[in-house]
Structure formats: structure tokens, C-alpha cells
Amino acid sequence: MKIDDVPQDNSPGYASEKRAVYARDAGGGYVLAASTGWTVEEAANCLAVEAFDDQARAARQRLAKGQGSVLEVLMYERRMDLPTLAQATGLWQWRVKRHLSPAGFAGLGTALKARYAEALGCSLTDLADSCAAQPGES
């Protein structure tokens, strides 16, 4: 990659930060150049972010219909999936899966809720089973 080819596409995802990439200067020697983003990378990254946003939206809809749980919404809002949340809490996946359902969530004790709150970085009140659909973070 030549230094003139270093992408400067001002990716919004970079939040005006810059990334260092290796590129060749006029003499062919490698130097570090700052890049403001690349549309190719941005496309791949946006897709991953959108996938989580979509899942969070779907979970919120299920919650509103009484088919989901606050836990499921928070899980996707924190960009986690079932295996990630299970690992972060140290619980079996089948248990977490059950807790994502309205019935399973309703049966959660304070100790388990505290464990989820810790893994999700939220307070116990966020996990209160008021089941009111909360607006998303983003």
C-alpha cells in the first residue's frame, strides 16, 4: 500500500480518532500513516453493529408483547449473545436460555439477578421485572 492509497474516508465509527497503518512512502520505505477510516471496513463494522441493534429491537418487541424479558433486551443492547452472556455469568447456556423467556425470568431470584447485573454492567433495578419496554441506548 502506498502512502497516497491510505484510505481517508472519515468513518463515523472512528469518532474522529485515527488508526495507524503501515504504508510505503515515495522511496518505497515503510512508514506509519494515520488513517481516518476505510469504507470497506466501515461496511463490515456497521453490519456487525446493526446485527446487534436488530436483535435488540426484536427483543424489545417480544418484551412488549409479553413474549420476552428485560434480560434478553439488555443482553443484545450490551452486544452480547447467548454464549457470551453464559460465559460472562458462568452459567450453563440452557439456564440462561430459560431465563430469557418471560416465565424463566419471572422465576429469577435476587442472587441470580445480581449475577446478571454484574455481567451486564447494570444495576439491579434495570433488571426489575416491571417488563416496561425501555428505550434503547442508541
Binding site: M1, P12, G13, Y14, A15, E17, K18, R19, A20, V21, Y22, A23, R24, G29, Y30, L32, A34, S35, W38, T39, V40, E41, A43, A44, N45, C46, L47, A48, V49, A51, R78, R79, M80, D81, P83, T84, Q87, A88, T89, G90, A119, G121, S138
Partner: protein, 348 residues
């Protein structure tokens, strides 16, 4: 060894950058590219049975931790490494080191570091950064993938260091305790690059090296017939993200490795190594063309067609094979190098 203050530098990748900065503070000037090359940190691996968000794992580098630990074996740097069961003990140990004026490398989760841009925050637990001081409740962070030093509140840093899950950091904290006075490239260059080249060309399993690239190409063709477009886009996106995102140096580390080869060629006055550096650059460019082909499919409104990305990937595989064979050729002992002209080796 007396702790010395660190100098923050912008780098292409977290672990190589952190190692380079810490070593410089300890008295060994080694560029980021040299850290990557000498530690043998470059590779390719496609592990379809390891899933991240239900997508197979593709990696362009050795597993986290192998870069700074690889330096220990190759050039004789000694590292002190500590992991902690208790977050409180781990944070107290960090404070104790900072009080002595020592900057330390830490492993942490990207997601819980608040100074990362929102769009970059994923649950990747093996990010590396340096903490060099404390100001009240904030830790002073030198994170080489950022241009400027950052600050991180204590609570967030503790969470990031002690997150559970895949590649859990367990509060890993490390710093060099002994560094060699000089690095003799004439001794260490050969084993370092041959290790990487052998892995890329001669790994006995199909998931690693050039075989791994070919495996990825064939898996892509297979997955195209079995999955819907939404999945295919995510699948391509995952490959590109591993190749291009913050912490890869771009071009899946190939440009950084080319910079390493160039530096060595200059240092040892070897034009043949410089030629391999050119080839490595070409391989990096081929990786970027592959990323462009993938991105086109991600963004297109037409049904996903994997033929272009697969063709681009085949070109990458051919170039990588040639490049690493060239690397083996230039590191053969001088007598054998004369006996076997490089042209004849390309057909091996």
C-alpha cells in the same frame, strides 16, 4: 531493573505496540514491526469449529499473548506476568506497581473500555494496553491504537480486566524485567522468519497457513449454497473485520510484516530479503483487494455472489505461497542458497 517512564506512540496493533513501548522504556529500542516479526506473530488460521457470534473464527495473527511471550523465547526478554483471582487484589497490585513508577501492560476487554468509540466496542477480551499512572479515580492509559494517551475510570478498568468469558484476561499484568543489550539480527532473523514461513507452508493441519486460506475459499463456496444472504453478509463482514479493524495494522498484518522484512534487509544489507518484502507488500495488497470484493457484496442490493471474493482469495493464496517460499529460500544456509536458484524453488 529500574522502571523508566514510557513514551506513548501510535501503533498499528495493540500487543505489538504495547510490547514495543514497554521494551523501549526498559532500554531496548525495537520497532513495532520488529516485535511482530521476531516474535513470529504473523500467521493465518481459519477455524470453522470455533464460533464467534455464530460465525467461524478467522485470524491473521497468533493467539493473544504469543507476541510478547514469543519475544522471550527468541531474543531473551524476560517478562514478569501476574494474573489474579480477585479483582480487588489485582487492582491493588496495579496501584503498587504504579507507585513504584512502573508502567505495566494489561489485558482487558474492549467493550468495557469507555474511551473506545461506540462503534468499536465489541466483546473482545484480549486487548492490550499500558497503564502508566493514576490521577485520582482515573488511570492514565497509553493505548497504542490511539494517537493520544487516554484516561480510564478505575471502575471501568477493573471491569475490563476481570471480565469472564472467552480469552478472559483474569487481570493479566506484565512488564519486562530483563532485556538483552543488543539484538543480533544475524542470529535471530533466520529462526524467527522460518518459524512463520514453515507454519504458513507446512502446517500438518488444514486450518493453518496457505492451506487455511484455501480451506476458507472452499468453505465460502460451500456456505454460499447453504445459507441465506443475511448470513452470508455477516460471514463476509466477520472475515473483513478480523483483517482490517483496529488492531490488525491493515492488510491482515502483512504490511507490518513487510516493514519488518524491510528493516531487517536494511540492517543486514541483504537485497534478497528486500525483494521478499516487496512480495509481502503484494500479498497485503491482495488481501485488501479481497476485502474490497467482500465489502462490495456486503453493500450490494443484489443477491450475494461469492465468486469475486473467492477468486480474490485464490489470488491471495497463490501470492502468500510464493512469498513464504521466497522467505524460506533467502534464509537457507549460504551454500544451499547457491546450489538452489530461487527460480527452481518456486516450483517446489
Amino acid at each position: 531493573m529500574n522502571p523508566a517512564p514510557i513514551q506513548h506512540r501510535h501503533a498499528g496493533h495493540c500487543e505489538t505496540g504495547v510490547s514495543s513501548i514497554l521494551l523501549q522504556a526498559a532500554g531496548l529500542a525495537l520497532s513495532e514491526a520488529m516485535v511482530l516479526g521476531l516474535s513470529g506473530g504473523l500467521t493465518f488460521a481459519h477455524l470453522p469449529f470455533v464460533r464467534i457470534n455464530e460465525l467461524p473464527l478467522t485470524s491473521y495473527r497468533m493467539p493473544p499473548g504469543r507476541i510478547y511471550r514469543g519475544l522471550a523465547r527468541r531474543i531473551g526478554v524476560r517478562w514478569e506476568q501476574q494474573r489474579f483471582r480477585s479483582p480487588q487484589v489485582g487492582m491493588a497490585a496495579l496501584d503498587a506497581q504504579l507507585e513504584q513508577g512502573r508502567a505495566v501492560g494489561l489485558q482487558a476487554s474492549v467493550y468495557w473500555l469507555p474511551y473506545f468509540p461506540e462503534a468499536m466496542r465489541f466483546h473482545f477480551n484480549a486487548h492490550n494496553l499500558i497503564v502508566y499512572g493514576r490521577d485520582g479515580d482515573d488511570y492514565l492509559v497509553s493505548d497504542p491504537v490511539f494517537e493520544q494517551p487516554q484516561r480510564c475510570p478505575a471502575e471501568a478498568l477493573q471491569r475490563a480486566r476481570f471480565v469472564r468469558g472467552a480469552l478472559a484476561p483474569k487481570g493479566l499484568m506484565y512488564w519486562p524485567t530483563a532485556v538483552p543489550a543488543v539484538v543480533d539480527l544475524h542470529q535471530v532473523f533466520r529462526p524467527a522468519v522460518r518459524k512463520t514461513a514453515n507454519m504458513m507452508l507446512r502446517a500438518p493441519i488444514p486450518f493453518i497457513g496457505v492451506k487455511g486460506i484455501r480451506l476458507l475459499a472452499s468453505r465460502m463456496q460451500r456456505v454460499a449454497t447453504r445459507q441465506d444472504d443475511r448470513y452470508l453478509r455477516l460471514y463476509l463482514g466477520q472475515i473483513v473485520r478480523m483483517q482490517e479493524e483496529i488492531g490488525t495494522g491493515g492488510g491482515g498484518f502483512r504490511f507490518m510484516y513487510a516493514a519488518f522484512l524491510q528493516e531487517c534487509a536494511k540492517d543486514m544489507e541483504r537485497s534478497d530479503i528486500a525483494e521478499v518484502a516487496e512480495q509481502m507488500t503484494a500479498a497485503g495488497d491482495a488481501w485488501r483487494r479481497f476485502a474490497v470484493a467482500c465489502a462490495r457484496q456486503i453493500r450490494s442490493r443484489q443477491p450475494v455472489d461469492l465468486r469475486d471474493p473467492v477468486t480474490a482469495l485464490d489470488a491471495v493464496a497463490a501470492l502468500e505461497r510464493q512469498t513464504f517460499q521466497g522467505l524460506l529460500a533467502v534464509t537457507r544456509p549460504a551454500a544451499r542458497r547457491q546450489a538452489l536458484p530461487i527460480e527452481s524453488q518456486k516450483t517446489v
